[in-house]
């Protein structure tokens, strides 16, 4: 049922596509994080800007991925990495801004007052007090955004053979009705998503040893959907 000879012949291609999948994901997550971090800090300082930012990110998030890729094709071109990355970045904005702002909001008021009382400048307070305390929710956001983006990178395969990461195999397999190739794309893809998730959970626990969830319900990453 599975053509192992074909798999053995295509290990180079598999390595290349896995790497491509990882860098397409990394670009989106890093760029999305930088943009969102700026927006979140601005929102925390000036509360009035948060509702419009969250609303806009929410609307972007509601647009299905295939629709957003399709909408960009006439603007930025079919075989363009820009067409692939813009939607990927756009989807991370809601996850990141929401989690970073909630992270800062979760810092107790007394802690902020103590820092002010000790004469911290607002920049020092942000970096040395607020950021470390916001880390559980920030990492939870990175985890959600990374896993989500790994799934979405697959869909960029519709933009041509030069993109798609592991999704390339899935699209080509469909054109050729070739089950082995489907699995060569789909199985590593699922392993990649699950492993990325597990690594980020580890990182989250490592960075916040004081915040071991005692009950599953206290785990910030399973926080509820709206």
């Amino acid at each position: 049922m599975i053509d192992w000879a074909w798999v053995a012949d295509h290990l180079d291609e598999l390595a290349f596509r896995t790497l491509q999948h990882l860098y397409l994901t990394a670009i989106a997550v890093v760029a999305g994080f930088i943009i969102s971090f700026g927006l979140a800090v601005w929102s925390v300082r000036r509360r009035a800007v948060y509702p419009p930012i969250a609303g806009f990110a929410g609307i972007l998030y509601t647009i299905p991925s295939l629709a957003m890729f399709a909408a960009l094709v006439p603007v930025t071109g079919l075989r363009s990495i820009v067409t692939a990355e813009v939607p990927l970045i756009a989807y991370t904005l809601l996850i990141f801004t929401r989690n970073i702002v909630s992270g800062f909001d979760a810092v107790p008021r007394e802690v902020l007052e103590a820092a002010d009382g000790m004469g911290y400048t607002s920049r020092r307070r942000l970096l040395q007090v607020e950021l470390p305390l916001a880390i559980p929710l920030v990492i939870a956001g990175i985890r959600l955004a990374t896993v989500s983006t790994i799934g979405l990178v697959t869909i960029t395969g519709i933009l041509g053979d030069g993109l798609g990461g592991l999704g390339f195999f899935i699209f080509e397999a469909y054109r050729r009705s070739f089950l082995t190739e489907t699995l060569v794309g789909a199985v590593p893809l699922m392993i990649l998503a699950v492993v990325a998730d597990l690594i980020l959970v580890r990182l989250q626990r490592r960075l916040t040893p004081w915040n071991r969830p005692t009950r599953a319900a206290d785990d910030p990453t399973i926080a509820m959907a709206p």
């Binding site: 609307i59 299905p64 295939l66 399709a70 909630s102 959600l144 319900a217 399973i222």
Partner: protein, 248 residues
């Protein structure tokens, strides 16, 4: 501006409003697949969430499975289901079942997690009071825990619904039905009117789904509960998620 008139022309072309590839048919297909997936996901995840939330048994297994489920990309699931379902039914097993099943998997985690978190978050005093009044366990669940947790549970179903409706477009990539066909065919034929017409329809349907489910969520929450929910600490507020929803 040219694009705008192309889209307007496509959306108002009467030939696009009739026949098996027409907008009403595609819309109905999209809604039917989405609704069937949502109902199946509720039928599976809700009882498990209620059981785990009430008894606290198997909580970490359920939450870990839900997290694992969220990491599975829908497109990969569709292609994995396809060769299996096509053996069962060459017609629907090709066009409908793979997408339907993948969307069920997509819908399970938010419903399961929200139901569990909602039920297990009900104050112990309330449950004790119910027990003191002589209620049986099932009665406590039905008359105390569920009414208090309903905004959170409904939030999970709403999140699942909007993810399912948005992601149902993906089925079209692999020969499936629904509004996604306009996006796939539009890209293939380089037809901007069709692409943006399809984008408009899909975006409108997603927003409408959000709106309808938000309305239902508000309707089925009793006014007293809606008020007390606002008194929850920020991290546990159903309206303030740290984001358990996403489409893959």
């Amino acid at each position: 501006m040219e694009l705008f008139s192309e889209v307007a022309a496509w959306l108002t072309d009467p030939t696009n409003w009739s026949g098996s590839g027409g907008i009403p048919t595609r819309l109905l297909e999209h809604l039917a697949v989405s609704l069937a997936s949502l109902l199946l996901a509720v039928a599976i995840a809700l009882p498990i969430g209620l059981f785990v939330g009430h008894t606290r048994r198997g909580a970490s297994v359920a939450v870990n499975l839900a997290n694992l489920g969220r990491a599975l990309p829908t497109l990969a699931l569709i292609t994995i289901f396809l060769p299996v379902t096509v053996l069962i039914d060459p017609q629907l097993g090709f066009k409908v079942y793979p997408t339907l099943l993948a969307l069920v998997v997509l819908g399970l985690p938010p419903i399961l997690v929200n139901t569990y978190v909602g039920i297990s978050g009900v104050e112990a005093d309330l449950v004790e009071a119910g027990r003191g009044m002589g209620m049986r366990e099932v009665e406590i669940l039905r008359r105390v825990e569920v009414p208090v947790a309903i905004p959170v549970i409904a939030g999970g179903i709403r999140s699942a619904a909007s993810q399912i409706v948005a992601t149902a477009t993906l089925g079209a990539i692999f020969g499936g039905v629904g509004l996604g066909r306009y996006l796939v065919e539009g890209i293939a034929q380089n037809d901007n009117g069709m692409i943006f017409g399809g984008v408009t329809l899909v975006a409108a349907l997603s927003l409408a789904t959000e709106f309808v489910f938000a309305l239902i969520q508000r309707r089925i929450t009793s006014p007293g509960i809606a008020q007390s929910v606002l008194a929850w600490p920020a991290s546990r507020q159903p309206g303030r998620p740290s984001g358990a929803e996403f489409h893959t």
